[in-house]
Amino acid sequence: MTINSDEIREAFLTLGLVGDEETGILRRFGVILACNSVDFLIEREIEFINSLGSKALKLGEKVLIDAAQWCANATFGGIMDSEEWAQLIEPNISTISDRFDGLVAITNCLGWGKITSYELDEEKEELKFVVDYSYYIEPWVDRFGKTDRPICYMWTGVAGGYLDLLFGSKPHDFVGDETECAAMGASSCVFSAKKLKKKYGIT
């Protein structure tokens, strides 16, 4: 591994993670970023899911996962197109795994929790990764104790989004899944992603 995540974190901070003096808009990597309290980001999802009742749970979860998969495409796509990436990361990239190392290093600067390990199978185009300190866990566990299902929806969407970017041609060529979740009592959250199987050839 030739990607230095400490160096990337330092460089990321020097980009200035604050909005413009005049407009208050924080434009970086071709997207508009905003810094919200973790409480807001998770509570809005909890309230939404709660408002739906069990019948519409799957639909609600899909909305949250989808939003994140689009976000991964736009944000990480923008990051890989950026000058900062070209200077800092691109020179150290020779394989797809190196490229993913770079994406992980940036992801670990956003305040969502930490990707601590991963396995990327370039042949099968499959990904598995482990997240510690997922920002979902405390708000959910504080309110409900253990959950009966994985609840790290944003990460699940991002898992699919990573593979869309690395191997796909468009958003939602790949699909993510959370196979273990710390909110259910697991020691970490574990995510996998693979190509979306199209039913009867229809998306």
Binding site: D6, R9, F12, L13, L17, V18, G19, D20, E21, E22, T23, G24, I25, L26, V31, I32, L33, A34, C35, N36, S37, V38, D39, F40, L41, E43, R44, E47, F48, S51, L52, A56, L59, G60, V63, L64, D66, A67, A68, W70, C71, N73, A74, T75, T107, N108, C109, L110, G111, W112, G113, K114, I115, D132, Y133, Y135, M154
Partner: protein, 192 residues
């Protein structure tokens, strides 16, 4: 201007990446970065599933409570509290609007303000800015309703702090929004 600049400067300095957990802290409170693509699609997804009114209610209420805590932790901290509390309500609100700029929420301006009513305008909330871009990019239909639900919550929390009330004391309504074709986003405040 001195106090505002000091408080804003310290706030910028307070942004930290906690490397061992890959979490982020602002003014001593956990926060994190997301893009307009995510935040506008959350709004769109919620509105598509539960409708405009319920989506607006969930987003503004959760934004209000959590932003109150986010701001209060910083503004009541030992190094800030005295200088912040020496300001008039209007100046306090202007300080908070500067902190909102730091957080990337866009620029808000006071048109008029007293304890019972107020008007605020913005030519650049991050949600309207993001929505307009994404509307073009993904060919979304033009909005008939305002989009800045989070900003309603931010404003309500700011007013509660400025007038020393509990969260929930003020009702803010977005009366114009750039995403509907209006020139700027406009917000009205009344006491609940």
């Amino acid at each position: 201007m001195g106090i505002t600049e000091d408080i804003k400067g310290d706030y910028k300095e307070s942004i930290k990446i906690l490397a061992d957990k890959s979490r982020l802290e602002v003014g001593g409170v956990e926060a994190s970065l997301h893009c307009d693509k995510f935040n506008t699609r959350i709004i769109k997804g919620l509105e598509d599933v539960i409708g405009f009114e319920d989506a607006q209610k969930i987003l503004s209420e959760t934004a209000e409570k959590s932003t109150y805590n986010l701001l209060n932790a910083y503004l009541s901290s030992a190094q800030i509290a005295d200088s912040f509390n020496s300001l008039s309500p209007e100046d306090k609100l202007n300080v908070i609007f500067e902190l909102f700029k730091v957080l990337g929420y866009g620029a808000l301006k006071i048109s008029s303000i007293n304890e019972n009513s107020g008007k605020f305008v913005s030519k650049s909330t991050y949600l309207s800015e993001g929505w307009l871009e994404n509307e073009r990019k993904w060919k979304w239909a033009k909005r008939e309703n305002p989009v800045c639900h989070d900003v309603i919550g931010y404003l309500q929390s700011a007013l509660s702090l400025v007038y020393e009330k509990e969260p929930g004391a003020f009702k803010v309504t977005e009366t114009s929004c750039r995403t509907k074709g209006d020139e700027q986003c406009e917000f009205n405040m009344e006491v609940k």
